[in-house]
């Protein structure tokens, strides 16, 4: 395993996060799915919860594990492993749900564990390389280098439903 602390609950979040002083850097929350590292913009992260099970939603995409009660709101949980086509996660209490805001909506991302908060200079965020003859993976918006690994930055609006994504694009267009 990677020699980093696994955060399983938001209680364990490392202290107050220092706000980046200058606009030249961006902070990300990084997490692990399988052997891969991914990250999301820290501003999108609302909270991090331990996996406590979901209520399954019938007749929806397989990557939607179901819904949870997030202080009264009904929030769907997306199984990231399934979303990336690598099969369903077999969740344990050690698994983590990262609650992210996508526009007005909220969604949970089921991941194996949260690893770190990384601060990256904006100029170091690399574009996803164009692969010859292949369509670019729509789930990622860029690549950043963490302390010792390469991480893909999630394009959150692509992970969730078309309706919410559609709503986002219309609202940003307006």
């Amino acid at each position: 395993m990677i020699g980093k602390r696994r955060i399983t609950d938001y209680d364990d979040l490392p202290g107050p996060i220092p706000a980046p002083e200058d606009a030249d850097v961006q902070q990300f929350v990084s997490f692990i799915v399988g052997e891969q590292h991914y990250c999301v913009d820290i501003m999108a992260v609302r909270e991090i919860k331990a996996w406590t099970g979901t209520t399954s939603l019938p007749n929806t995409q397989a990557y939607i594990r179901g819904v949870i009660n997030l202080r009264g709101a009904i929030v769907p949980v997306v199984d990231l492993r399934m979303r990336f086509g690598q099969g369903l996660t077999a969740p344990t209490p050690a698994h983590v749900v990262v609650i992210v805001a996508i526009g007005e909506a909220q969604s949970g991302l089921l991941v194996d564990g949260v690893s770190d908060i990384v601060t990256v200079p904006r100029k170091d965020i690399a574009a996803i390389p164009d692969l010859e003859g292949e369509e670019r993976n729509p789930f990622f918006s860029g690549l950043v280098t963490g302390q010792d690994s390469l991480m893909a930055v999630l394009a959150l609006d692509q992970l969730v439903s078309q309706r919410i994504a559609g709503h986002l694009s219309t609202s940003t267009a307006a």
Binding site: G53, T55, P58, N59, V67, I68, G72, A73, I74, I164
Partner: protein
């Protein structure tokens, strides 16, 4: 700036709506014979407020109309114009007319020129006639020809009662009256209360008193000046009448100043409904959280700290109260709907030529705002039905020994957590032979089906059922009671009808107090809990397996009282396809939109409870067959099922299966 003005305008129109209802309520009461000063005062105030606001926002068609109307009511208030049936009927029509003017002003449309003129004429004539014919004597009135905008003119109420010896000191009350008249618009009423019988009358003594209502811009000093020579020889009170105030009585205490625009008695604020909804949601959350906490605390903790139990039950009480109070904010008296109905009944009576009285009860019953908004149409529809079908012509009524006037009653009351609304008439009742005949003719039931009288009555709720022999504008457009039933069911309510031939029929609506809460049956399917709205459930069958049949290309059907309903195994739809039927599984027969039924097989029934409805579409695409979600006592999410949608899923699956069966057959035939 503009938007601010627009906001005030909207507020004014909202208020007009309230004033309109007040007017309707008070005038109706007066027409029915109630004689109460407060009623006239309320009506007067309503008109006056409308007039004032309309002037402010430049609705110049409303102002003159309201002014004449106000003048008439003022006359009634001061006792100059006697309340007659004719007057009140005209006043009610005028109120309708005023409502139309306001509606037109609000929607920026123009009514035909002269729309209100006839009404205006009638009102003026009535006011005029009554003044001339008034037997009270000594009443005279000078009408203002131009309309004085409120604010510039002041209204004064003057009580002038000479002492016995006033005339002996060479004072002449008539001069005083004339001088007052020069100050502005004056209304005079003579008080004959101490006038002795003729034989005892002393010609040189003063017996008459007067009360004056004066509209003038000249101020109090000018009025006082007129009375300066008689001041010591009379009882005199001069009080200013503030715009929304009533102070016709001599009692100066009645002239306590009020805030000008505010409605006396109730103080209200207007709050954005979203804020209230947020509050309702939060209160629901607190209730759930506190239930969770209570579950987490185990007995040993209670034993260690006995006060914990005490405090927790305190918390429970407070949360419950909080939830009730928050719900009460959304609640509105059903009066807002009921007050609109007298006008409808009047118009219906006119159109049908029948004589109909509307009697309402329980107007103060409170019900959720959202429910109220959606109740108006169904209630109006049923009143139309009652007037169109239920109530007979006067002649027919008299023949059958009933009063010539038909009666429609409309009532609301709270029973437990539900609101019961009844719309009834004393008409001919449901003609069961005709209903049955029609249902058979329309293929809604089979000719040999055995139905109780109650069942027959409720056939009128089937889609496409309408007993009207001819289509009229009043009722019988074929979109009858089934639409009513569907709308009420959407609100989580139920509809029933009871009828007695020759005695009338009553439609009973049972509604939940709020849309935010639903009475649900909790069931288990494939390891998950689901909620089925109780309102849609017809019956639950424990041993249903023996009544199941298989229809090729359609799937399973369940025999329920002689007819067959589609049967859906929820564990196959929601769970893994292979899940076996459990022994204790139950078939729940639920009603679906459009009048059909569906059988839903669940693994077990857990219980029944009220659940708070949550939207799932805030964060998620809509899911077929799921109407929403709720949070159960253990903090888990449970989905609320939509029987109608599930039936549609089932039907499309069956269709697909049938299709593939057909095409396979076709292939074989080709081969």
């Amino acid at each position: 700036m503009d938007s601010k003005l627009e906001r005030f305008r909207t507020m004014f129109l909202d208020e007009c709506d309230e004033h309109g209802r007040t007017l309707e309520r008070t005038l109706t009461a007066l027409q029915r014979g109630a004689r109460n000063h407060d009623l006239v005062d309320d009506a007067f105030r309503a008109i006056h407020s409308i007039k004032g606001g309309a002037g402010m926002f430049g609705f110049d068609r409303i102002v003159p109309f309201a002014h004449v109307f106000e003048t008439v009511l003022d006359g009634v208030r001061a006792g100059r114009i006697p309340i007659s049936e004719e007057l009140m009927t005209a006043a009610l029509r005028a109120a309708d007319c005023l409502a139309d003017l306001i509606l037109a002003a609000g929607s920026n449309t123009d009514l035909a020129a002269g729309y209100e003129n006839m009404m205006l004429g009638t009102l003026a004539r009535l006011a005029g006639i009554t003044v001339a014919d008034s037997p009270a004597g000594g009443t005279s009135r000078v009408n203002a020809t131009e309309d004085a905008p409120p604010g510039e003119m002041e209204r004064w109420s003057i009580q002038f009662f000479p002492h016995r010896g006033l005339l002996k000191r060479a004072n002449e009350p008539l001069f005083i009256v004339r001088q007052l008249q020069e100050l502005g618009t004056l209304a005079v009423t003579a008080d004959l209360s101490v006038l002795p019988p003729f034989a005892q009358l002393q010609p040189a003594d003063a017996y008459l008193g007067w009360s004056f209502e004066l509209e003038t811009a000249r101020g109090e000093a000018a009025i006082r000046e007129i009375f300066q020579f008689v001041e010591d020889d009379c009882d005199l009170s001069i009080t200013q009448v503030l715009p929304v105030m009533a102070a016709a009585e001599a009692d100066p205490a009645a002239a306590v100043p009020h805030e000008t625009m505010a409605e006396p008695m109730t103080s209200t604020i207007r709050v954005d409904i979203d804020r209230i909804d947020r509050l309702v949601n939060l209160a629901g959350e607190i209730a759930i959280s506190q239930a969770l906490v209570a579950q987490l605390i185990d007995q040993s903790l209670f034993n260690a700290n006995p006060r914990l139990f005490q405090e927790l039950s305190q918390l429970l009480t407070h949360t419950q109260n909080l939830q009730d109070s928050v719900m009460a904010i959304r609640a509105q008296p059903i009066r807002t709907i009921f007050d609109r109905m007298p006008r409808l009944v009047r118009e219906l009576a006119e159109q049908t030529g029948k004589k109909i009285v509307l009697r309402t009860a329980g107007e103060n019953t409170e019900i959720d705002k959202t429910v109220i908004e959606q109740l108006s149409d169904p209630i109006m529809h049923m009143i139309r039905n009652a007037a169109g079908h239920g109530i007979e012509d006067s002649a027919e009524r008299v023949v059958s020994g009933k009063p010539a006037e038909g009666l429609i009653h409309l009532s609301a009351e709270q029973r437990g957590s539900r609101i019961v609304i009844e719309i009834g008439d004393d008409g001919r009742g449901i003609d069961r032979e005709k209903v049955r005949h029609k249902a058979v003719a329309k293929n809604l039931i089979s000719a040999d089906s055995v139905l109780s009288t109650e069942d027959i009555d409720n056939l009128i709720f089937l889609p496409g059922f309408s007993t009207a022999d001819k289509v009229t504008s009043i009722s019988g457009r074929g979109v009858g009671m089934d639409v009513v039933k569907r709308n009420i069911q959407k609100l989580g309510g139920r509809v029933n009808v009871r009828s007695e031939p020759g005695r009338g029929s009553t439609v009973v609506l049972t509604l939940p107090l709020t849309l935010a809460v639903l009475e649900g049956m909790i069931v288990r399917v494939a390891g998950e809990s689901y909620v089925i709205p109780i309102a849609s459930i017809v019956e639950c069958r424990a041993s249903w397996q023996k009544d199941v049949g298989e229809v090729a290309g359609f799937g399973e059907v369940l025999k329920v009282r002689g007819s067959y309903v589609a049967l859906v195994h929820l564990n196959r739809v929601f769970g893994s396809a292979a899940a076996a039927c459990k022994q204790q599984s139950v078939a729940i027969i639920a009603e679906i939109e459009g009048g059909g039924h569906i059988g839903l097989v669940v693994d077990e029934i857990v219980g029944q409870q009220q659940v708070v409805i949550k939207s799932i579409t805030d964060n998620l695409d809509p899911v077929a067959g799921i109407a929403g979600a709720t949070i159960l006592g253990d903090g888990r999410v449970a989905l609320i099922l939509d029987a109608t949608e599930i039936s549609k899923i089932n039907a499309s699956r069956a269709k697909a299966a049938w299709h593939s069966l057909n095409s396979e057959n076709a292939r074989r035939n080709v081969a």
